[in-house]
Amino acid sequence: MMIILDSLWSLLQAGFVQRAFIISIIIAVLSSVLSIFIVLKKISLIGDGLAHTAFGGIALGYYLNFIPLWVAGVTVVLGSLGITKAIRSTRISSDAAVAVFLQLGLAGGIVLISVARGFGISLESLLFGSVLLVDYDQIITATAIAAITLGILFLFFKELVYVTFDETQARASGIRTWFFDYLVSLLSGIVVIVAIPIVGILLISSLLVLPALTSTQIAKSFRQTVILSPIIGLLTVTVGLLLSLIMNSAPGGTIVLTGIAILATAFAAKKIQRTFSNKTDNHNHICGKLA
């Protein structure tokens, strides 16, 4: 045990590990706040759809020999606008709309990679992330994007909350709900692009779902959800990264499994609490009758 702790301590002194923790925390806070609106608006698959659109964009970037992440950024922005337009359309259900864009990005990317015989892309790093290879420039970019995104969410917070609660009622009170639908989708796209280096394309959507999903199991109000979601996001990436260092496992996958374990714990705690309160109610009811 002491040997494991000693080696963990020495790993934590390393610059690349510290950078991994810093960027993970930035992404965790950003994605967990946004996840509240995504989960409550019932568009949880949007992160997945946009991540696969990003995959197509990265492949296109390599094919065009132009900065892949920039090309992915453009395709994700276009994808987020397209997904939102399709979701808002009454002709197609929202999950089907996301699925179409997901397949388009994935298939397009695979075709481009196969045509160019691989480009020398590390598919593993794209799919599962490589948080331990993050440099300071990425941290600065992520910090700036997080500040801008959280600033926008803060500016429109009460309108976003209303639209999330009930779109029809929000529209009926004069709120331009279409603008906020596009805004959430666009900000999700930005988070996807920033987060791909950490958890990769396959697992990014989990960071845009799990923190809010877990916090809504525990929270008794929206205010509590807003406080709990970033805390759960932070806990997920911190514990996940530590476990991945201890077990020498893939950080992206370990982070996501940690998030799912926290969600399962929240479900179990809720069930135990409900069973206990039902038993107490029954006991009080019987005692009341006997008295």
């Binding site: 029809t168 529209r171 929270a219």
Partner: protein, 252 residues
């Protein structure tokens, strides 16, 4: 000078994209302090008509004027609305009763402005008025139909609206809660002088508290004073089925 009606509907027709004619030639003036009972069978177009007034559905023909303006969005902050599905909430939706009612203050606060102490006081006032102050910390999805209905009425009223639109607000609610609800509505209409349009299937009770009645089944069957309304005759025409009406003291 005669005041302009709160709502002016002129020859409203709505045809959906699938070709279904939902409304055909509805004309109505809603005056200040009116309480209008909107009656019709399922699929008659009652919800569509309320959505036309709110600008949620654009009429295929005809014009809508809300509080003196055809630019409906401009005056929506003076309108309170309780949709038909308002009470149906997932138990996990993490909104407390207080937060739900507070949402009604969003249009009043304006863009880039948060809700403040004045808004919180207004919410507390409404929670007390509707007898739900003790429920303020409960999750909205954990309330009974009757409690939930009072929360959404409080949310609609918290913005001090001039016009209140209620779309079948008592569906799925027990008889006692219905009676309490209609008594509250009658009191609100008289005390706050708010204008109300109420769609419902509780014909007996809503025609008692309403001063005017509008009967529709896609087209307009009756529009006039409650005193001129012959329920049996109009229901016969609307439903195209013979009915007899019996009064019972225990049922509204």
């Amino acid at each position: 000078m005669v005041a302009r009606p709160i709502v002016e509907l002129r020859d409203i027709s709505v045809r959906y994209a699938n070709g279904v004619l939902a409304l055909d030639g509805i004309t109505l003036d809603v005056n200040d302090k009116d309480l209008i009972a909107l009656i019709g069978p399922n699929g008659a177009g009652k919800s569509t008509l309320l959505k036309v007034i709110l600008g949620l559905i654009k009429p295929t023909t005809g014009s809508v004027c809300l509080l003196g303006s055809e630019d409906l969005a401009k005056n929506l902050k003076y309108v309170g609305y309780v949709p038909q599905s308002a009470q149906a909430r997932d138990a996990n939706v993490p909104f407390s009763v207080f937060e739900t009612v507070m949402l009604g203050r969003t249009p009043q606060a304006g863009l880039f402005h948060g809700v403040g102490l004045k808004d919180r006081r207004k919410v507390e006032e409404m929670l007390k008025l509707f007898g739900i102050f003790d429920l303020k910390d409960r999750k909205i999805g954990q309330l009974s139909g009757g409690q939930s209905q009072r929360v959404f009425l409080a949310k609609a009223m918290v913005a001090d609206p001039k016009l209140l639109l209620l779309d079948e607000p008592t569906s799925g609610v027990d008889t006692t809660s219905k009676t309490e609800f209609y008594n509250t509505l009658d009191r609100l209409n008289k005390e706050t002088e708010i204008t109300v349009i109420l769609s419902s299937h509780d014909i007996g009770v809503i025609t008692k508290i309403a001063n005017r009645v509008l009967c529709i089944n896609r087209s307009q069957f009756f529009c006039g004073e409650e005193t001129d309304f012959n329920a049996a005759e109009e229901i016969n025409k609307m439903y195209n089925y013979p009915v007899e009406i019996f009064e019972h003291d225990d049922h509204p």
